[in-house]
């Protein structure tokens, strides 16, 4: 399935336009972008997308497997939620039919579509919810697959190495 993402900044200027092909041979092609966004896409393409965004003061894991149909939609959610950009996703369900999905502002939904065994078993990802009152509060752990899990004992010392 082919889809396209357009991202515009707070001044209404287009800063990114990409085309994405999901499936066995996924592709993320930059059609138009600022230099910064071009560089970002170079690093985003080819990898599973695994981030955290804040919604209602709560962190939410968002995840999309590289090649999955929802990859561009998840990317759009991240751009809206973390950077406040406006996004439009055009999804081609058939060859000649494009269905626009627009999102903007600060609304973010958790779209964790996690699958297992996407990360090496030896890798760990620790997530800390850092608040204004206490940057070390609310330590959390994320499993290898990016799914939020229970807090890790002793992680109150998190980040103090």
């Amino acid at each position: 399935m082919n889809s396209e993402l357009k991202v515009s900044n707070q001044f209404g200027e287009l800063i990114l336009h990409v085309r994405y092909a999901s499936g066995d041979n996924p592709m993320l092609l930059t059609i138009d972008a600022t230099n910064e966004m071009k560089h970002a896409i170079l690093h985003i393409a080819g990898k599973d997308f695994d981030r955290v965004v804040v919604s209602g003061n709560e962190p939410h894991v968002i995840y999309a497997r590289w090649g999955a149909p929802e990859f561009l939609r998840v990317l759009a959610h991240y751009f809206v939620g973390n950077y406040g950009w406006n996004t439009t996703v055009l999804e081609a369900f058939q060859a000649s039919t494009l269905s626009p999905l627009a999102c903007s502002g600060n609304l973010v939904s958790s779209v964790g579509q996690s699958t297992a065994d996407t990360s090496p078993a030896a890798s760990y990802c620790f997530v800390a919810s850092l608040t204004a009152n206490n940057p070390r509060r609310q330590p959390r752990a994320v499993t290898n697959s990016g799914v939020e899990s229970k807090a890790v004992a002793g992680s109150a010392q998190f980040g103090r190495h």
Partner: protein
């Protein structure tokens, strides 16, 4: 402790005041390669909105405090190799 668990890298998502705290050099965290250009893009917009001039730094620790503490960016995805 993390090394004993077999971890080779620590990743954190810094928010609110943590965007300034955890990006100080003494903690040794860096911004992921994919995130730096996004933050730089946002910094350019922030500069425009604040009628300031300048170019985006190449390291997260070099961004001004006012930008990091502003709501321009939600979370910063940082990592440190053990």
């Amino acid at each position: 402790m993390f090394r004993r668990w077999g971890a080779t890298e620590i990743q954190i998502f810094a928010m609110e005041s943590g965007r300034w705290v955890w990006t100080r050099n003494k903690f040794g965290y860096e911004l992921f390669e994919a995130e730096l250009p996004l933050v730089q893009q946002k910094y350019r917009e922030w500069l425009r909105a604040t009628t300031d001039t300048g170019t985006p730094p190449s390291r997260i620790s070099e961004f001004p405090k006012e930008f990091l503490l502003s709501p321009a960016v939600g979370m910063l995805h940082l990592f440190k190799t053990l």
